[in-house]
């Protein structure tokens, strides 16, 4: 099958590391990056001197309160004296960090790459929401004093209106993910909640309520990628990156139908083509779609071609996406359960799929045997989609 890019080397993931995801970690962003990086190197059995290139992913600088985050984090990410690059595509940054690590290796330029993502959202006072004001168009949007949750509420309501989906059906995502997170030792918000808890929580921006949305969070994630030439020196169970895809849609979100995540579909089709996946819902064993809001997981499952448009809620109700279902979705607990330090949350999804395919996910391990997994993230003003396909 022809793919719209030309690869030199196959790439494997050989190690991953996470920090706890918590609100107000005492560590600095650099210390968080260091901890995740050190754990990933330890799991890979590598030292920093073995690493050729570093990729850093971090979402808006304003969260950590420090601009030039690539430079700021480079110490903690092992970047001193090495080629370092930083990627940033809003919330889609986490998976993009893995993809950027991948293309460093796939091109043949580096043999071993450390890809690190970090976010510390909690320092902003009184609330990180105020920092989001500077992502809007200064002339056409900012005068209305938008809050970030506005756009997602608008998207959620459009999705509900277009397909006649009820809030009760969407709340099941939050219930499932927070329950899954109880198995995750890194998680911030694992708990047994009910649909009623979601529906009775504080209304933020109708239809978004407090338990529909992931928390403010700090955390770090890192993975080690290696070329096929050397991967087996470090592990008997490499997990291969079989496909990657990333797309930007236009920024005119008020001028495009918000009921469907076209940008994720484009990214998914690119990744599936590369991985030779023709029937995603039959061939994908486990998936980590990006879920900063509960409706967003459903939205993304549809764009990932794992459900028809408007039908993800029905499949969810049938248990298809449960941890013991046909296509377990967010077995890690997702952002709703684990927490949402934006870029780190996306890379956490890649690390989770890696551990699932390696069989070392512990209590998070899904019940059925798994061979193909997909992680996806999404960001910017509803325009960036990033998808990665892994196989063992």
């Amino acid at each position: 099958m022809k793919v719209n890019m030309y690869l030199n080397k196959r790439v494997a993931i050989v190690g991953a590391g996470l920090t706890l995801f918590r609100r107000r970690l005492l560590e600095t962003p650099q210390e968080i990056a260091w901890e995740a990086s050190r754990k990933a190197l330890d799991e890979a059995g590598l030292e920093l001197k073995d690493i050729d290139c570093i990729v850093i992913g971090s979402a808006p600088d304003a969260f950590d309160g420090v601009h030039l985050k690539g430079e700021y984090l480079s110490h903690g990410s092992g970047g001193i004296g090495k080629p370092v690059s930083r990627v940033y595509v809003g919330g889609a940054t986490g998976v993009m960090t893995a993809i950027a690590g991948w293309y460093h290796v796939a091109s043949g330029m580096c043999q071993k790459v450390l890809a690190v993502a970090e976010e510390k959202m909690s320092p902003a006072r009184p609330h990180p929401q105020s920092v989001f004001k500077y992502i809007w168009d200064p002339i056409l949007e900012k005068p209305l004093n938008p809050n970030l949750i506005w756009i997602f509420a608008m998207e959620m309501h459009r999705y509900m209106a277009k397909y006649g989906i009820k809030k009760e059906e969407i709340a099941l995502v939050s219930v499932k993910n927070k329950r899954n997170a109880m198995n995750n030792p890194y998680a911030q918000l694992g708990s047994n909640i009910t649909v009623d808890d979601v529906l009775n929580s504080e209304v933020l921006v109708w239809p978004v309520q407090l338990l529909d949305v992931s928390p403010v969070s700090d955390g770090g994630a890192a993975i080690v990628l290696a070329s096929e030439d050397v991967a087996r020196r470090y592990t008997d169970t490499p997990v291969w990156v079989e496909g990657v895809g990333w797309t930007l849609d236009n920024t005119e979100w008020p001028a495009r139908d918000l009921s469907y995540a076209r940008y994720v579909e484009f990214a998914a089709r690119m990744a599936y083509k590369m991985a030779g996946i023709e029937r995603p819902n039959k061939e994908i064993d486990v998936v980590e779609p990006y879920d900063p809001f509960d409706y967003k997981e459903l939205h993304h499952l549809e764009a990932l071609q794992l459900a028809k448009r408007g039908e993800a809620p029905t499949l969810l109700k049938e248990g298809i996406f449960d941890i013991d279902g046909d296509i377990p979705s967010s077995p890690s607990g997702g952002l709703l359960g684990v927490g949402n330090p934006i870029a780190a949350a996306g890379l956490m999804k890649v690390a989770s799929i890696y551990w699932q395919l390696k069989g070392t996910a512990g209590k998070m391990q899904v019940k059925k045997p798994v061979h193909t997994g997909v992680a996806q993230s999404w960001g910017d003003l509803m325009q960036a989609g990033t998808v990665i396909v892994l196989r063992n």
Binding site: L20, R22, R23, R24, L25, L26, E27, R125, P126, H127, Q129, S130, F132, K133, P138, I139, L140, E141, P143, L144, N145, P146, N147, I149, W150, A153, M154, E155, H157, R158, M160, A161, E202, V203, L204, V205, W206, P207, V208, N250, E252, W253, P254, A255, R256, D257, L258, Y260, R262
Partner: protein, 165 residues
Amino acid sequence: MVTPLKENELDKHVTISYKPNAKYSYTAGQAQSKYLLGFKEGKIYGRRCNKCGKIYVPPKMYCDECFRPTDEWVEVKDEGIVMTAVASFISWTRERLEEPEIVGVIRLLPSDERDFVYPGIFHRICTSYEEVKNMSIIGKRVKAVWKSKEERKSSIEDIQCFKVI
């Protein structure tokens, strides 16, 4: 590792407040300038690409798909269909609001309901929380409520909100 601080405990911590004295003079550019000047006359302008037929509102001097210049100015109606609407009970700093702010996206006419991409505007909608909650506002036809001619300043604020007609 974990820091279970309460809000009042945070007061005991050193907080660094910093107000950057950063001021910006934004450029509206060719397309947006005409768009904003149109607001002063109570008109909404867009740009059409004659190759693909797409009408850009807010206008653009280039077609981002054909990657060529857009060809002509068109006037769209200040009326449209509500695609989505939400009621915000929090301010942009996440403080609690007593009365919700209602905003949404309007697909301006002429356009077709089958269009994935259409001339659109993000603005306030004059309606009740009840109508947002029961979703009856979505799909309704609305029209811009303009400020009086003297009050208009060539800003999106020249439109107070969109109201059902």
